[in-house]
Structure formats: structure tokens, C-alpha cells
Amino acid sequence: MTAIRPAAGSAVPVRTAGLADRLARRPWGLYAAIGFVALLAVAAIAPQALATHDPTALNYPASLQAPSWTHWFGTDESGRDLYSRVVYGARESLLIGLGAAAVGVGLALILGSLAALAIKPAAVVVDRFVEILFTFPTLLLALLLIAIVGPSATTEILAVGLGTAPGYARMIRGQILAAKGSAYVEAAIALGHSRPRVVFAHILPNALRPLVAIFALSVGQSIVWASSLSFLGLGVAPPSSEWGALLDAGRQYIVQAGWLIVVPGLVIVAVALAATTIGRYVQARLEKGEK
């Protein structure tokens, strides 16, 4: 099992992993990550508790103001308070991230399990299918789906889920195969346990121990992908204050008001980093527990 793990771990294409690894090893790094996620949860559930202004209130005299004490993150071209827009955008952004992660990991779970456990011809077909999907770049797969269905929040969730699923599917398949070949599974077979029992009592619980970690890592990654799609105008449309959409809207004013693109960008990076840090921590704990 241990031989497979490093390869499986590196299959997670999260670019912030190096920094997240270092943060996950320090208590303050982990606490900061948890604190930030908690703050975002408040923003998503009760944005009015954190916001300082009405996120949709137009105030043209105050347009494109730099960050100040009244407008912490500055204002946009219509004088809307960017801080409040970021706070109000949290719900949609997080839902898209969580949704996409659920779709991606869920799909990966089905495909990975089938590829590892189904009877021979079916397993080979699924395995090849996953490999074909894996050859497409994540973004390309997502773009393909959006091109067919058209942009919306739901499409975005499905598109990002579909795009990230192949990588996780291969990882889950590897985990299951490792568990399947282990001595304790053989011992269970030798005891005369039925196949479903061996699968559900031994193979899946052991193979899917890292699933929590995979999911947390996937949330961070999905938010980044979803923002990329919104930025390209293929996700949620600009009137919404979803963070990718904020980036897209701020792009036109990059010279006059750089904060419009820098601040939402930093928030996205911070979320991805926090989710990855928590994921890595959980992963490290699980691996430590096995030794």
C-alpha cells in the first residue's frame, strides 16, 4: 500500500500543495486555515453579518476608489463596495466549489471502483474510458461540456466535476487495487467470507480512508477551476458577485483599479490554500495512523 501512495498523492494537481504541506505541519498554519474557512462559512450563511455595505447599491460618485477605511477593498466601476461583494459572493463560490468537488469525487468513486472491482471485461472498459478522459486537459473537458449545454452555475459545477474526476478515479482505483491485493483480504477470502462482504468490510473501508482528504483537496482545486471558467465568461455571469465573475468584471479596469482583480484573486488563492492545508493535514493524520 505504501508503495502506491506517493504516486497517488502526486496525482492531485493542486499547485498550492507545497505551501499547504508546510502550513499543514504547523499548528498556526492549520488554525489559520480552519479560521479562514469558518469565516467564509459565516459569509456564505449570513453575509449581512460581515458586509459593510449593500453589495448591489450603486454609488457612481464613489466609483473605482482605492481601498480605504470606508471601502476596505475599494469600489468597482459602479461604486459598489468590493469587500461586501466578495462577502456576498462567498455563498455561490463555495457552493460551486463544494458541488463540483462532490460531483468530481463522486464520479471518481464510481469509475474508480468499477475499474478496480467490476468483472473483467467491464472493468477493462471502464479503465480505458477513464484513461481516455485523463488524456484531456481538465479545462478542455469542462469547456467541452459548457460548449454543448451553455454556461450556468449548474453547468459549471458539472463541468468542473467532470474535468477533475479522471485524476481522482485513477487514484481511487489504485487504492482499491492495493487493498484488494493485501494479505488481510486474502485472509478474509480464506475464511470463506462472501465477495460482497470482503468488498464492503475490508476493501472499500481501507481503500477509501483517504477520501475525506481527497475531498478537501478537491474543494480547493474546484474553486480555482470554477473561477477560471467564470473569468473566461463561461460560468456565472457578471451581475453575480461570484469570485470568478468579479475577476472577469475587474479585468477591464486592470490599469486604473488593479485591486478589482487582485483582491478577488487573493481570496481565491486563500480559499484554495486553506482547503488544501486542511486536506493535507487530514491525509497526514490518516497515513500516520496506518503505520
Binding site: A183, Y184, A187, A190, L191, G192, A201, P205
Partner: protein
């Protein structure tokens, strides 16, 4: 520069002769050696008060079980005890030089030149990416010995000396292209490259087959005759008996007994030494308990196999078992080739063979974990190998298995209770409390208490894990238990307890054992019938007396000749005569 090595050797040789006494004095003097480790700021002593002297041409053996501190001692003697170790001694002299205050740099000078160190596992001790020749030459180069060309010649010479056939070819190969025995000899060659007059060998033969072990021991013997002093670290008394002049028996960091080999082995005074000697299984020990620790009472009343099996005829019958494996390059390995045997109720069939002889594949075939290419297995008179897994499943409780590494055969998420209850469940429809009671009963059979139920296998000792594995194997009241190297990873006193337990369980329950081992001593102690396997085929079979006293096949003869002779009674007689 090339002179340095030789010059050092010359000085070393002159040093060992004290001109006034005209008597060779010790090359290594150790008095009151203490090693402790700093664990979380606290000192934990692992070796206490070890003293001995090592004369030229002498072999001092340090014997003990895992955790006794013997390997730490070996490492401390060459300055390799590690950064957290505190090594103290009232005397620690190497060639009359006080080495207690040596720096790492000074130790590097000493190692290789004055002291050669042979490690246990040649596979991990040799660099997989370097040729064997480069590895040995490296030892020379580090001490600036000779020119490149001279080193190359020296490598060939060394390989020849340790008995490696075709040394020029072997020197160009990498460790993975060499067999275990050749690797171990290459390691010895690199340890003696600079002709050190002290060689420390830490379990030099533990990972080796007996026929290879005998060659490595012969090489050490030759070195000793040439005047090298050897410190032999081993858990195996029969190996020690071959080579040692002086023996130190260690237990939990302390030397419990020390003296000449003949006295320690022949007339041991300490009870632990006696237990160690008595624990070595052989044909002489058949039918007698190996351990002074009595077998748990519950084992004597272990339940009989399920009543449906009270029938005549062999419980397990294998005919013409054949399994070939194809390699990617198209070659075929005949893992098992035409093996037949029959196992009667309440009996033990021992399968003995060296690594790669096909004995474990035979076990897997018998257990129905591998499909047969040819042949049949019948369990309790019924077809077993020719039926689909679905129909085999109801019969599976009748045959169970205990493997060499019990830890990996337990689900890592489960504690002992779940492991045992899970083993019951397939046929058992009783309630949770009844199952728990049965788990406690099973633990009783193997001498473990109910307090183990909540523990995880990871937190149990090797012996306890193997006991849990046996308890699990007994859970379904099987007729046959396949024991695949089940005691091979255990210390000799723990092995003795487990073997005693197995014998008692068989007597009370009438279960049959298919006992697979590379250890001829264990096989001859336990078996009613023995199968000798080589390259997938049975070369000889019969009663242990016949096989061990009158082997017919040349391979069996070689195998038996390779077992280090270990007969405490004979040593005692010779010890008595020396004393007179």
C-alpha cells in the same frame, strides 16, 4: 599513497605482540560498556556493563533475542551507535588506543581499515545502482588504497577469496543480478577489503538459505584461521556454536552469562541460557516441550474439529499439483511441478525447502487462493480444487491459514475482538455476546487473556500477534491448518512457546497441520511426515527419521549437511572432557 593500507596492517600486526610478554594481547578491550539513548530528554539504558577482550584469531559471539542490545553493542564498538546514543565505558581500546573520545572523522579512519563491519541484509546494504565491483572498490578508495587499476585487481582477488565463482563477471554486475548468497559474500568482500584484523558480523546469515549459510560460515571460519578476530552477533545458537570461542549471552541489555563456547553451550549456569538452548528445535526434541513456560491449560481442552468430519481417510489430499508462472520475457517458471501428498487427521505434514522451492505456492494452491494448472486437491474426501469459488466457500471454514507475517493478515482498522468475531461470523448466527464469549475462549486456547480483545495488532508483540493469528485459524474449528513459515519471524524462545502450543492444540483437538518451513529443525521437531521440495518438485518424502538419518536424494543430503550441528548433549560431553 598506496603504502598506507599495507603500512597500517604491518603496524597493526606488530601492535598485537607485546614484546615483554611475548604473548599476543587483545586487539579489542571492552570494560563496562554502557550504551544509553536519549528519549525525550530522558536516558534509557540499552546496554549495561558489557566487558570482553578479543584476541587475534578469536571469535567472540554475542547472543541474544531481539531487543537484547546485541546490535547496539556491535554498532557502539565502531562508533555507529547514532547521534542520540551515549556510549560510555571504563575501557574501550582498539589496538591499545583509547577510542572513547574519538571524533566521527577518526572513526571513519578506523572503520574499514582496522574494523570491518558485515551487516545483516545484503540487499539493502549494497547500493542498487552501483556494480558490486564499484561498491567494493569504494571501500578501498575511501582509504586511498592503491591506484584505480590496482583496486580493480584487488576487487577480483577479494571476490575470489570469499568464494564467488566467476569474480570478473560478478564484479561488473549489480546487486539485483546476484543471488542472496552472492550478495552476502560481496558484502563480506567489501568489509574485508583492507584486511581489517577485526571483523564484526551482525547476523551475517540470518536472511540466507541453509545451503548458502554454510558457505558464509565457512568463509568466516577461514578468516578466523588466517588470524582475523571476529565479533559475531547472532540470535541463532547453532550458528554461534560453529564459530565462537567465547560467548556472551545478552538479555534486556545485560550479559547474563559469559564464558568459553564449550562451557556456555555445554554446561550453562544461567536459566535463560538453558532456556535458549532448550528452545532450539531439532529431531532430538520431538515430543518434548521446548519452552519452560507451560502451555495454557485451555489449549489442552481445545475443541475438536466440527463433528461432520469424523470420517476415515486423509483430510487433505493433493495429487500432481502443478502451477507455472509466465514471465513477461516469455520464460516459464515451474513454481510447483507435480506435487502429491496426503495428510491424515491429527497429523502434521512438514514441507521443507529453500526460498524459491515452491513451498508457499503449494500452500496457496492447497488453500484455493491460486488456480491449478494441473492436478487435484481433495478436502475431507470432497473435490476442492475443481469447483468454483462459490461452492468452495461453504467448505472454507474447514481449512484455515497462519502466515509468517500475521500483522499484514489483519485488517489494520480492527482490534482483536473484531478480528476474531469476523472469523466466526461466516457460519455463526449467534448473538454478539455469545460471539464475544467465543472470542475470549479462542484467546484462552492460545494463552491470551480477554484484556487483549480491545487491543490493536499493531500494539501487540510478535508472539502475541502470532497467537491471535492461531486463535483466528481455530475460530471455525477447522480440520486442517496451513502454517506457512508461521514461526520463522519469531525469537527462538517465543518460537518454542508457539511450537509447544501448536503441539498441545493438535493433541487436544485432533486438527491436522500442513507445516511449511525453511527450518529443518522446526520441521523435524513437529512433523509426522516430511516433504523435501526443490525447484517446485518433491525430491524426497517420508518419515522424518528416515529423511534425516538416511537421506537418499543428493539435495536432501546437502540440505542436512548444511544444518549447523547443534547437539547440546554432545557439547556438554566435550566441555566436560576439556575441563578434566
Amino acid at each position: 599513497m598506496s603504502v598506507i593500507g599495507t603500512a597500517a596492517a604491518v603496524t597493526a600486526a606488530t601492535k598485537t605482540i607485546d614484546p615483554e610478554l611475548d604473548w599476543p594481547v587483545a586487539r579489542l578491550r571492552v570494560d563496562d560498556l554502557r550504551v544509553a539513548f536519549l528519549v525525550a530528554g530522558a536516558r534509557r539504558g540499552v546496554v549495561r556493563g558489557l566487558s570482553f577482550e578479543l584476541a587475534p584469531g578469536e571469535c567472540v559471539a554475542i547472543v541474544g533475542e531481539s531487543g537484547s542490545g546485541k546490535s547496539v553493542t556491535a554498532r557502539a564498538l565502531v562508533g555507529l551507535a547514532g547521534r542520540n546514543a551515549i556510549v560510555e565505558a571504563s575501557t574501550l581500546e582498539l589496538h591499545h588506543e583509547d577510542v572513547r573520545a574519538f571524533t566521527a572523522r577518526q572513526w571513519r579512519q578506523v572503520r574499514g581499515r582496522d574494523v570491518g563491519f558485515i551487516l545483516q541484509d545484503a540487499l539493502v546494504s549494497l547500493d542498487p545502482l552501483r556494480t558490486v565491483g564499484a561498491e567494493i572498490a569504494e571501500a578501498l578508495r575511501l582509504h586511498r588504497w592503491g591506484t584505480r587499476a590496482r583496486r580493480a585487481r584487488r576487487v577480483i582477488e577479494l571476490l575470489t577469496r570469499v568464494g564467488v565463482p566467476r569474480p570478473a563477471l560478478r564484479a561488473r554486475q549489480r546487486p539485483d543480478q546476484l543471488s542472496g548468497g552472492l550478495r552476502q559474500r560481496a558484502l563480506i568482500a567489501s568489509a574485508i577489503a583492507l584486511d581489517p584484523d577485526i571483523v564484526i558480523a551482525d547476523e551475517p546469515t540470518t536472511a540466507l538459505d541453509v545451503t548458502v549459510q554454510v558457505q558464509v560460515l565457512a568463509e568466516l571460519e577461514t578468516m578466523k584461521r588466517r588470524g582475523a578476530s571476529i565479533i559475531l552477533i547472532s540470535h541463532d545458537l547453532s550458528v554461534v556454536a560453529q564459530l565462537a570461542d567465547q560467548i556472551l549471552v545478552m538479555r534486556a541489555g545485560e550479559v547474563v552469562e559469559q564464558g568459553s563456547a564449550a562451557t556456555v553451550l555445554g554446561a550453562p549456569t544461567h536459566e535463560y541460557t538453558r532456556a535458549l538452548i532448550a528452545a532450539v528445535p531439532s529431531e532430538h526434541t520431538r515430543g518434548t516441550p521446548l519452552s519452560p513456560v507451560p502451555v495454557p491449560d485451555a489449549a489442552l481442552s481445545a475443541s475438536a474439529p466440527a463433528p461432520a468430519d469424523s470420517r476415515t481417510g486423509p483430510v487433505l489430499e493433493a495429487r500432481d499439483l502443478t502451477k507455472h508462472f509466465g514471465a513477461p520475457d516469455g520464460s516459464i517458471t515451474r513454481a510447483v511441478d507435480g506435487v502429491s501428498f496426503a495428510l491424515d487427521a491429527g497429523k502434521t505434514l512438514g514441507i521443507v525447502g529453500e526460498s524459491g522451492s515452491g513451498k508457499s505456492t503449494t500452500a496457496r494452491l492447497v488453500l484455493g487462493l491460486e488456480t491449478l494448472d494441473r492436478g487435484t486437491v481433495r478436502l475431507l474426501g470432497r473435490d476442492w480444487s475443481g469447483i468454483p469459488e462459490r461452492r468452495r466457500r461453504p467448505l472454507r471454514p474447514r481449512i484455515s491459514v497462519v502466515s509468517q507475517d500475521p500483522l499484514s493478515s489483519f485488517d489494520p482498522r480492527w482490534n482483536v475482538e473484531r478480528i476474531l468475531v469476523d472469523a466466526l461470523a461466516a457460519s455463526d448466527r449467534r448473538g454478539a455476546s455469545a460471539k464475544r464469549a467465543r472470542a475470549v475462549e479462542l484467546l484462552g486456547f492460545v494463552g491470551l487473556g480477554a484484556e487483549v480483545l480491545d487491543r490493536f495488532p499493531l500494539r501487540l508483540s510478535g508472539g502475541q500477534r502470532q497467537r491471535v493469528a492461531i486463535a483466528r485459524a481455530l475460530a471455525t474449528r477447522p480440520s486442517v491448518i496451513v502454517l506457512d513459515e508461521a514461526v520463522s519471524a519469531l525469537d527462538v524462545t517465543v518460537q518454542a512457546q508457539i511450537l509447544d502450543l501448536l503441539v498441545a492444540l493438535q493433541r487436544s483437538s485432533g486438527v491436522s497441520y500442513l507445516f511449511i518451513s525453511h527450518d529443518l529443525g522446526v520441521i523435524s521437531h513437529l512433523s509426522d511426515e516430511v516433504l523435501v521440495m526443490k525447484d517446485g518438485a518433491v525430491v524426497e518424502s517420508g518419515a522424518p527419521d528416515e529423511i534425516f538419518r538416511r537421506p537418499r536424494h543428493p539435495y536432501t543430503r546437502e540440505l542436512i549437511a548444511s544444518i549447523p550441528e547443534f547437539d547440546p548433549a554432545a557439547i556438554a560431553t566435550s566441555a566436560a572432557s576439556t575441563r578434566k
